[in-house]
Symmetry: C2
Subunit: 637 residues, 2 copies
């Protein structure tokens, strides 16, 4: 047995014992060391770079590691095997997901800017904000020797009488302390109830002097990032918001790899634990600490997520999602309550999962449609959600049609050698001087932050600018020479975005032809899917009144550049709107409004799912779109 020590930049240390020959990336998974490996250890993405600090590992030089880097100790975790004791440094960029939790306290009344499409837009459609959570004040007759009605009947009878409801049941939590709470408060109490139709559930009872929180939780579970809102359901006020990397990332960057991992023995439980215990529960605890409430006061939770993510969240078999005929276990399910999952919220809290439409169009999309209100407008709208997968919805108040395309993770920085999420050090916007070929950047983070890599919007800009400056040709090959242009011994060209000395990284930040090719295939998948969906209805992009773009690609997305590179159709740029995280907005609306909840189910039922992969034209359309901007350049003139 050898001892492998993982050392994080923040000083944390994780020790594990391993047999010779074990792969370092696998070992890291076992040791719960989060190393980003979007390609799941296939030695193709080059993201799992770690630094050998002491001892040795058995490893080879790959195209992702230069000889200089190798000499400096850099190795790919997925291409290294245990070869005796070793100390391995895990750089922040590789372990970004676990620690990058962001929590904002909004109890100070700070303006909430998470929604481009806000609850106000939803209210404008006629949907009322209002849910079944209420606080009732009630005073009971004190028991006597002549009136020995037991406590539970005494309370439920009083509620039925005062509030004219037929059925009142007590949560087990209430029953346990009912006697003492009633007596400590002289039989005058406040009740937190869920009041739906004429059925009332009492979730909590407390002193009449208390001001009980009606906590609600809206969560968007993205394949890469999880975002959450803690909400006061009395007025819909957001008490806290938070986001963190999806703890499942170490089991693969995309849904397919996660499903495969979940199919292994005990895998379903591991994946569920990664999203619940490692991701959502800490988010809840952090938000609750900020807002100074106990999570037990959360009585309703809405979850918007793609089909795989909501299955893995629920701990449900996801295997059939990835295999023809691609059948999920549920579109909607009412089976989940707080007590089924280890979240620390009220055990009888209703967990609402926004409805799936198919195996690859999930609750994040129905939720996004709810939030962008395209279902309420006669304008023909295209909705594009750029996550780890790409999903499209086209329609209006008359019809809604949807499809998914496997664009891959390029828009979130995956499959790109210098790709990264839109966190500190990410280039989010770029211009290149046509003459000098020198770039200028906008970088995420404080003034003076040095560039580390490219996030989605930066990638679009860089490729659009390289093309505009004729540094690359329509196939994405480098066709100019200069200080920033390099070719390796295999002839592969690259462009240096930042030389080592100017970068926040240990080596030059560069983009190469493989990256550009990966990106072209991603944008080609999006463009061809849009085109195919429209043409299947005998439409072309000119009919579009507006295009909503959602997803983690970042608000910095330059719509002109997306058109210039042939990612989005060539219609007036004014028709494009970046609407942010519409999945979370929809989850929030569903949380605070029963009418929105009904609406999102209606949207789910009413959406027509179109399977692209079985469409005979898809491959032709896709291949034609794998060009900058397109093989049919007339489309972009």
């Amino acid at each position: 047995m050898s001892k492998i020590t993982f050392k994080f930049e923040n000083g944390d240390v994780n020790e594990v014992f391993a047999n010779e020959g074990e792969q370092i990336l696998d070992l890291a998974k076992k040791a719960n060391v989060v190393i980003d490996a979007p390609c799941s250890g296939n030695v193709s993405c080059g993201k799992c770079k770690v630094k050998l600090l002491e001892g040795s590992v058995k490893s080879e030089i790959t195209r992702h590691i230069t000889e200089e880097e190798y000499a400096d100790g850099w190795r790919l975790a997925c291409n290294s095997e245990v070869d005796g004791d070793a100390v391995i440094g895990v750089p922040d960029i590789a372990s970004a997901f676990k620690n990058r939790m962001k929590v904002a306290d909004l109890s100070t009344g700070e303006e909430v800017k998470i929604f481009n499409k806000t609850i106000e837009d939803i209210k404008a459609t006629g949907i009322k904000v209002g849910n079944d959570m209420e606080i009732l004040e009630i005073e009971l007759a004190e028991p006597t020797l002549d009136d020995t009605t037991p406590d539970n009947t005494r309370l439920t009878d009083a509620i039925r009488e005062k509030y004219h409801v037929s059925f009142v049941t007590l949560s087990y939590n209430v029953l346990k302390d009912l006697s003492s709470v009633l007596r400590e408060n002289n039989f005058k109490v406040k009740c937190v109830v869920g009041l739906k139709n004429d059925r009332t559930v009492v979730y909590r009872i407390c002193s009449p002097d208390d001001d009980p929180i009606l906590g609600g939780l809206a969560v968007d579970i993205g394949t890469t990032t999880v975002s959450a809102l803690l909400v006061d359901m009395k007025d819909g006020k957001i008490l806290s918001k938070a986001s963190a990397g999806n703890g499942q990332i170490r089991y693969g960057a995309d849904v397919i790899n996660r499903i495969i991992e979940a199919e292994k023995p005990g895998g379903k439980e591991k994946l569920q634990s990664a999203i619940i215990d490692e991701t959502i529960k800490p988010l809840i605890q952090n938000m609750c600490t900020h807002a100074n409430i106990d999570p037990i006061n959360i009585y309703r939770m809405t979850v918007s997520a793609n089909t795989t993510m909501n299955h893995l969240f629920a701990g449900v078999d996801a295997g059939s999602i990835r295999m023809e005929p691609y059948i999920p276990v549920f579109y909607t399910t009412m089976a989940l309550h707080g007590g089924n999952l280890n979240l620390g919220i009220h055990p009888d809290a209703k967990i609402i999962i926004t409805p799936n439409v198919g195996s690859y169009v999930g609750g994040d999309i129905t939720s996004g449609v709810l939030a962008n209100t395209m279902w309420n407008s006669e304008e023909l709208t295209l909705f594009v959600d750029l996550g780890t997968n790409g999903e499209l919805v086209f329609g209006s108040s008359d019809f809604l049609m949807t499809c998914a395309c496997s664009a891959g993770p390029a828009f979130e920085g995956g499959d790109i050698s210098c790709g990264m999420r839109a966190t500190d050090g990410a280039i989010e916007a770029c211009e290149i001087d046509e003459e000098t070929m020198e770039p200028t950047f906008k970088i995420v983070g404080e003034e003076g932050t040095k560039p580390i890599g490219l996030c989605g919007s930066g990638l679009i800009d860089v490729i659009a600018e390289l093309f505009r400056c004729k540094i690359i040709n329509p196939k994405g090959k480098f066709v100019r020479e200069g200080e920033r242009i390099r070719h390796d011994k295999f002839g592969m060209g690259s462009y240096v975005l930042a030389f080592k000395e100017d970068a926040g990284s240990v080596k030059d930040v560069e983009i190469n032809e493989v990256d550009i090719d990966n990106f072209i295939r991603a944008k080609g998948a999006i463009f061809s899917a849009i085109n195919l969906m429209l043409s299947s209805l005998d439409f072309d992009p000119s009919v579009l009144d507006r295009v909503f773009v959602a997803g983690g690609i970042g608000s910095g997305i330059n719509m002109e550049n997306t058109i210039r590179i042939g990612m989005f159709p060539n219609i007036p740029v004014e028709k494009y709107f970046y609407i942010g995280n519409s999945s979370l907005s929809g989850a929030y609306a569903t949380l605070v409004s029963n009418e929105a909840e009904e609406k999102v189910y209606e949207i789910g039922r009413g959406m027509t799912y179109m399977e692209l992969s079985t469409n005979p034209s898809y491959m032709d359309e896709f291949v034609a779109a794998c060009f900058i901007p397109h093989t049919n350049s007339a489309l972009f003139q």
Copy 2:
């Protein structure tokens, strides 16, 4: 800190550290060492006798320890304090409750004899055996690219169609493995469902080749003893039966002491854990092992218990039960499911608690009435349940009236110096030769078992025989002299049942005047309660058509002797019937029959509760009955 080591007769050892001055009985509670202390450590019952094996404790001689015993190391745990390291022997009789679990495997078809009143009697009333558990076979259309209905809807739709029910919901447990179970069985499965009205809950799905068990569990939680039946709900067949001491015994012998213990911080959780984790869960596991089934296949559980026991089982505040105006938290509650309690049964299993009628007439009595079928007969019936408390029900198909009397634990061997439960070594029947005053016994256990003490039925016999032989007078004082008669230095008389050399114990087995006095008060409480309840309706005992006696007092109860000592009214002995554990019989009926479940609720609602303690005649009646047989001897001629 001193180290105190508890050593059990079976060789088990339990070590704990303590401060000087800590009481040994308290320390034993903390260390989860079960020492029987019916008086809760008030140095009055003398039951908590332990033996100092090494080291020392600070202790005094009491009336319960002779000088000879003291020299031999015997001490009362409640009267001993830590005084340095010590090794303390805990004899079997003191720690009897935890280990005396009895499990019987009935899968061999052995005849079930637990019911004097059987399910056949209940069926004879017209109540059908039949519950909502069923096994459905179902074959689903396999999904295709053109039929992508998700798994959950596919299943629920098929059940709705085939079985003509409106609402079908899936247990969360089913949802988790639905995909793989469907596919492993080519979409042909068996479903375990609860089918009530037109609502169906699917609890489990499995292969069509499986023969799923529909497990059910009936439990009688007595203050002293817990009995349980594992049942196949398909045919009502009993798969296994088991009983064990109630693990709460170390918190006090009677309900009042348990309530007081539960009111302390964390006490409710401790008491709940003692009955669930230490008592019922091991019973379930043992029965399931015997019957070779997994407890997850238990879908319905019925619990019959007195009001305090069912509150503590549910983990519900019980404090108000013991304080005027004596209000329980619930008579009935629907709040409990398997998932709320740590029992290992199906998390969605319905837990039915048979209804309470008042703070001191609980579900054991409504359950007993259900089982004895007095509600279905025009015969005027008196039902007496002799547990740690005594409860009475009087009535017929026209009316039911009930009351409780605090008879104390004498009938179960409590408050009697040589009292014990009806386990090995207990004298269960006795005759005394009037001339020689020599006793002859029937002893529980194998041939040749030596007497250790007296159980309830033996106690009745001994006192009746002592009285018949004029060894004691009507006040219970010894009035004859002889080898077996002794008087201590305070003048207290006693009768030696077995000399040390003939006994299975370290000292003579004797009964003294304090014991007799305790018993007289217990039987006086029962008799006066019967008389008061009857006279309040202008009846006297002559109207009684029959008397049902239930409880742990033992089937050996000699009814003639109960009349002779004035415990039961002087009516023809043929009218008396010992019906065993009617609480468990009723729990069993409620388990296997939905109609019985409805009936037991109806019985609960229809019973009139009479509070004896506030009746002005009660004290007079009681005092008059504290005589053998009664101050009014005309009642027994």
